[in-house]
Subunit: 423 residues, 2 copies
C-alpha cells in the first residue's frame, strides 16, 4: 500500500497559514453553537436558489435579443468556450456604470472566483525566481496562498493604522532591489481591507499610483468590499484614477452576488509588445495561463452572473441596496458593542468606515490555544491576526467579522469576548 510522507509534498500543501485556517474551521466545526466573529462570508439569507434559473433565463433573453440563434446560445452555455469568458462585455459595462472604469471588453478575463485571478496575474507577471510581489501587510491569505503555489516570494509592506503609505512602498521596493530581486507588482485592497478594515484616502491612492510609476510596479487592486461603506462617500478605485494602465483590477461577485457561482474577473488593459512590435492586451496574453489552469470559467456560472448584471441595469450598487444597509447596520452594531464593553479598558480597536472587519489589539497573546478556550468556555470565535503576517507579527491582535450573522448575535458575541478577556 502506498504511504506518502506528508513532508515530501509541496510546501503549499503543508504551509502554516493553511494549517491555521484549517484549525479555525476545525474549531468552528467542533463548537457549532459558538457565535462566529471569525466567518467573513456574506450573509446567507441574501442568496436565493430561484435566482439561478431566473438569471440564466435573463441571459438567454439577452442573447436572443442580440440575434444569437438557439443553437449558438446553447453552445455558449454548454460547450468549451472562449478562454477569457463570454460575459466580459457585461462586466465592462458594469465597471463603467458603478466604478467609472472604462476598459474594452477584451481587457476583461472572467475567472473561477477572484482567487484564480490572483494566481493568473502573479503567474503571468513573475517570470523568474528573482521576481517578487509586494503586498500590504497584514495581508489577505488568498494572495500569499496563490504566491506559494507558484513559488513566488511575497514581501510585506507594513500598513500604518491609516493604511498603506507610499513612502513605505518605495522603501520596501528599494530594499528588495538592494538584495538583487525585482518587485513586479504591489497587491492591495483599497477599501475596508481584509483583515485590517482600513481604507485609503483619495490623495493616498493618487500618491500610490505615483509611487508605483516611479518604482515600475504594477498594482494589483482587489476590491471585494467597496460597495459596503458606512456612508455614501465616493471611494474611487485606483483603477478609475489610473491614467496610464498601471493597475490590474481584481474583481469578485462573492459579496455582491453570491460566492457559490465562483465567478470573478481580472481587468488587464496593459499593452504588451513583443520583439516584433506586435501589440496585444495583457488580458489576452494571460489567457494562455487561464487555459492551463481551468480551460475557462463555468459557462453556467457566467450565464447566471450575466443575467444578474442585465437584470440589475449593470449596477451592483443599485441591486445591492438591501445588502449595503444590512452590512452597515452590522458594522455599526459591532463598533457600538466594542465601545460598550471595552471603552476605557486595555483593548483597542480601529474604526473602519465600511466593510466586514474590525481589528482589536488585545492585552493577551491571541494564540490558537486562547481561541480554543474562547470557543469551548465562552462560545465565541474570532481570527488571530498572526495568520495574516508573512514574516511574523499580529500576536496580540484579533480580527472580528460582522458579515455572516445578525446584529443581536454580534452584540452577544462581543459580550462573550469581553468575558474571555476579563478573565
Amino acid at each position: 500500500m502506498v504511504v506518502l510522507s506528508r513532508e515530501a509534498l509541496h510546501e503549499s500543501v503543508v504551509d502554516p497559514v493553511s494549517a491555521s485556517m484549517n484549525f479555525l474551521n476545525e474549531v468552528a466545526g467542533r463548537y457549532p453553537e459558538a457565535i462566529s466573529l471569525a466567518a467573513g462570508r456574506p450573509f446567507d439569507e441574501f442568496h436565493s436558489v430561484a435566482d439561478i434559473d431566473k438569471h440564466i433565463q435573463a441571459y438567454l433573453t439577452h442573447l436572443r435579443e442580440r440575434g444569437l440563434s438557439g443553437a449558438a446560445a446553447r453552445q455558449l452555455l454548454t460547450q468549451y468556450g472562449r478562454t477569457n469568458g463570454h460575459v466580459g462585455d457585461l462586466i465592462a459595462r458594469m465597471l463603467d456604470v458603478d466604478e467609472n472604469i472604462q476598459v474594452p471588453a477584451a481587457a476583461v478575463m472572467v475567472t473561477t472566483g477572484c482567487q484564480e485571478a490572483m494566481v493568473i496575474a502573479l503567474r503571468g507577471l513573475c517570470a523568474g525566481p528573482g521576481d517578487v510581489v509586494l503586498a500590504a501587510e497584514p495581508c489577505y491569505v488568498g494572495l500569499t496562498g496563490a504566491a506559494r503555489i507558484l513559488g513566488v516570494e511575497v514581501v510585506g509592506v507594513p500598513e500604518s493604522p491609516d493604511g498603506l503609505r507610499p513612502e513605505t512602498v518605495r522603501a520596501v521596493a528599494a530594499a528588495v532591489r538592494a538584495r538583487g530581486k525585482t518587485p513586479k507588482a504591489l497587491y492591495l485592497v483599497p477599501n475596508f481591507a481584509n483583515p485590517s478594515g482600513v481604507s485609503l484616502p483619495v490623495p493616498v491612492r493618487r500618491a500610490l499610483l505615483a509611487a508605483a510609476a516611479d518604482e515600475d510596479l504594477l498594482i494589483l487592486e482587489d476590491d471585494p468590499y467597496g460597495l459596503f461603506g458606512l456612508d455614501d462617500e465616493p471611494r474611487p478605485t485606483l483603477k478609475s484614477l489610473d491614467s496610464d494602465q498601471r493597475v490590474i483590477y481584481l474583481g469578485s461577485f462573492a459579496k455582491s452576488y453570491f460566492p457559490g457561482a465562483r465567478v470573478g474577473y481580472l481587468v488587464a488593459d496593459q499593452t504588451v509588445a513583443d520583439a516584433a512590435g506586435r501589440r496585444t492586451l495583457l488580458a489576452e496574453e494571460l489567457s494562455t495561463v487561464k487555459s492551463m489552469l481551468t480551460v475557462n470559467t463555468s459557462a453556467l456560472s457566467q450565464a447566471v452572473v450575466g443575467g444578474m448584471l442585465i437584470d440589475s441595469g449593470f449596477s451592483l450598487r443599485a441591486v445591492n441596496q438591501a445588502k449595503i444597509a444590512f452590512y452597515r447596520r452590522n458594522l455599526n452594531t459591532l463598533l457600538a458593542s466594542l465601545h460598550k464593553h471595552f471603552a476605557g479598558t486595555a483593548v483597542r480597536w480601529n474604526n473602519p468606515s465600511g466593510g466586514f472587519f474590525v481589528v482589536c489589539d488585545v492585552p493577551v497573546d491571541a494564540s490558537e490555544a486562547l481561541l480554543e478556550v474562547s470557543a469551548q468556555e465562552y462560545g465565541v470565535l474570532w481570527t488571530p491576526m498572526r495568520f495574516f503576517y508573512v514574516g511574523g507579527g499580529g500576536t496580540h491582535a484579533i480580527r472580528l467579522s460582522c458579515s455572516a450573522i445578525e446584529p443581536d448575535r454580534i452584540e452577544e458575541g462581543v459580550g462573550r469576548l469581553a468575558a474571555l478577556l476579563r478573565r
Copy 2:
C-alpha cells in the same frame, strides 16, 4: 502608458504549444467554412440548456430526501463551500457502478474541470525542482501546460504503436534518476489516448502498475474517452486494477455530460502520514492547493452534475448510449473514409478501437504552413502531431478528430485531405 515586454512575462504565457494552439484556433476562425477534423470537442447537439434547471431540481430533490432543510440546500448551492466539493459522494457511487472503482467519498475532490485536477496533482506531488513527471508521448497538451505553469519538468516516455511499454517507463525513470532527478508520477490516458488514439491491453495495464510500484511512481490516470469504445469490451481502468493505491484517477464530465459545466474530479485515496504518524487521505491534503487556486468548484455546476448523476442512476454508461452510438459511427466513418482514399498510398494511419482520434503518418512535413494551405485552398483543418511532443517529433504526422461533426462532413473532410496530399 505602461507597455510590458512580452518576453518578460512568464514562460507559460509565451510557450510554443500555446502559440500553436492559438494558431490553430486562429486559422479555424479565419476559415469558418473549412471542415474541422481538428476540433476534439464533443458534438453540440447532445447538450441541452433545459438540462441545467432539470438537473438542479433533481439535486435539490435529492437533498430534500436526505433531510436537508431548504436553508441548508440554499447554502450548499450559493455559499462558499467545502473545498473538495459537495458531490464527491455521488461521483464515488458512479465510479463504483460504472468503473468498478471503490473509494470513499473523502478520496474524491471535485475540480474546475479535469485541467485543474492535473494542476493540483502535479503541485502536490512535485515539491522541488528535482521532482519531475513522466508522460506518455505524444502527450495531451493540458498536462504539459499544467506542468509549465508550475515549473515542473515533464519527461516524455515514447509510446510504441501499441501504446506505452512498461519497459520504456522503467528505462526513462532510470535515466531521469541517473541525472539526479526524481520521477514522482507517470501520466497516461489508457483508453483511446489524445492524441494517439491508442488503448492499452489489460496485461499491459497490470504490467504498468507493477513497473510503477518498482519505480516508486504514482500513476496519473486520465480517462475522458473510456466510455466511447467501438465495442463493448470491458476496458478496466488502472484504478480498478490498483490494489495498493498506486493510481490517482483524473476524471472529466466534459464528454459524458457537457464541457461548459467545467466539472472534473480527482480520486486520491493514497494514505499520507506525517512525522507524528497521523494519517490522512491525499485528496484531503491536496485541498489546501485547491483552496489557493479556485477556493472551490462552482457550486451550481456541481449541483447540475449531481442531479445528472442521480437522474442517470449513477451510470454515465447507461445515460450516454446515444452518444456512444454516435461516436462509434463517426469513428467507423473516419476509418472507412481513410481506407477509401488512402489505401495503397504512402499515407498510413492507426486503427483505434474507440475514442475521438486517429493519427495519420503523411509523406510531407505537416507544418503550420501546410495547415494554412489546407484551410485556405482545400477547406479542411487537422492538427499537426508536432504539437504533442515535448522534445521534438511528430513532424510527418497529423491528428484527425471525429467528435464534433456528422458523418457526411467527416467523409467530405477526408476527401479534401486526400486532395491536399495528392498535390
